[in-house]
């Protein structure tokens, strides 16, 4: 019975059926299945399929967004019953840099990381450099992931990295950068650790870093 339920839950997420995803998550909890098990077997495989479809251009952003809505519907229900706030596989501070309000890419990265057991602190968009620095100092995340879609705001990404150095925080956190105009060249130029082209890259990198 349970296996079938996991299968249905995965299906609901892949097709973006919010109501069904929520219903199945609630049902799983009612049957006393561990919320972590439900996440692992009912949600994560679905997001892997969605991510793969997105890569193969079977899915585009609209389909991806529907699936992530269904994912969060189930995930938020499960979270209420999870043992409180472990660090998960790692803690990620993520946000769009100052001056830029385009946050779709950042949101996709966050979904995939959360679906795979990372704890994300979402800073939102158009975030002042000082806020990143303060949060890195206070919350001591393992990763800082910065995104921008626009060319002018690449400069504000560079200044965030400079700020980390000035505050003596640079060696406390691993930094990844991404977004439309960003490249490996730029990443190296501003002294970040990793450049990712998409959400899968970001996940792969974070997983390999925590294993080190």
């Amino acid at each position: 019975m349970t296996e079938k339920m996991f299968e249905e839950l995965n299906h609901a997420i892949v097709v973006g059926d919010i109501d069904e995803a929520g219903r199945l998550a609630t049902l799983g909890l009612a049957e006393n299945i561990d919320p972590l098990t439900i996440t692992e077997k009912g949600l994560i495989p679905a997001m892997a399929i969605v991510s793969e479809k997105y890569d193969k251009k079977e899915y585009y952003l609209p389909q991806m967004l529907l699936s992530s809505e269904a994912f969060y519907e189930a995930f938020n229900i499960l979270k209420t019953k999870m043992k409180v706030e472990s660090k998960g596989r790692g803690k990620v501070l993520i946000g769009v840099v100052e001056g830029d309000v385009h946050d779709i890419g950042k949101n996709l990265v966050k979904i995939v990381l959360e679906a795979n057991g990372f704890v994300c602190i979402d800073m939102g968009r158009d975030v002042p450099i000082e806020d990143y620095l303060q949060k890195v100092a206070e919350d001591k995340p393992d990763f800082l992931m910065l995104s921008t879609l626009m060319t002018p705001t690449m400069m504000s990404m560079r200044r965030t990295l400079e700020g980390l150095v000035e505050e003596g925080l640079r060696d406390k956190v691993k930094v990844a950068v991404g977004g439309g105009p960003i490249s490996w060249d730029f990443c190296k130029k501003i002294g970040a650790d990793f450049y990712g082209d998409n959400e899968k890259d970001a996940l792969k990198w974070a997983v390999s870093e925590v294993k080190k």
């Binding site: 952003l61 609209p62 529907l66 100052e98 001056g99 002018p152 504000s156």
Partner: protein
Amino acid sequence: MKETMSAKERLLATLAHQTVDRIAVAQPLHTGTIELMKSSGAYWPEVHSNAELMATLSYEAHRIIGFESVRVPFDINIEAEAMGCTLEYHSGRNKGLDIQPPVKDPAISEAGDFSRVMDPDPYKDGRMPVVLEAIKLLKKKVADTIPVISMVVGPFMVAAQLRGVEAFMREIMRKPALALELIEKCRKVCVRYAQAQVEAGADVVVIVDASASCDLISPTQFDEFAKPFSRSITDSISVPTILHICGKNDLLLTRMAEVAPGISIDSMVDMAYAKQTVGKNTAMFGNINVNGVLLFGEPADVEKAVIECIEKGTDGLTTCCGIPPQTPTINLQTMVQTAKKHGFKKVYA
């Protein structure tokens, strides 16, 4: 090798898919850089709301850089603002000097609630009259041999701005009829605005439909939600159009070619592939990389990129996206000079 056509003749002939003396070096995307703002005294964000300043900064790109055109405006939210969005003019650390004013508050906060969506008159509402006035000023300022290029945002993108991109992307899946209703409202506004630009003197109208990119939607969704609406702009005005869409749009090229006689592509698309795909009945514009080459490169990198782009068959040598405000003048001058010098190869090769 000698020039036998004026800049305007060349651009119009290119868009009519006729033979030209050399490739066009007109710039369909915005030209606002900080160096040009300094030399002309016309600064963002004031430029966006003042016809005189808008014309001044636009003219400066022709005068200093040597673009064979003048182009207005300098931001992409004029239609969305006139239809009800609130913009943030002083965003970022430099208070709007180097950032186009983004949408702060979309006009639609709930699916299907069009109560705050306006139906603007381009001669009266928002900043549309500012752009029309700037076009008229430029017509007087430049010789008749220089084309005046104006821009209208594509109906799909305006709809996404009014609703908020993410919410709109969900709506085209969950409530396609509502999405289409909104896009149709936008289409009417865009057509009227484009017609007013032509009446003011625009020689070419660029349609920027950045949200209708394959980075966001599928080619099938492009066919349903974007193509017929932007095509309607081309069909409703008496001057040629150029369609620009950012992103990796290999799968959209032939569809873009159905919208306008000229299409402008991002640097992620290979120019040789694009030109071969669309053939000689579509004029290709592009696609010098604005960040890797123009913003961070040296003049020698620019020269190399321009020659390569010409050899790959572009019909108009332009940037792949709006020019980043921090771009050095020397790189832009190098781009234009190299294109003018090597652009003959296409004809005589």
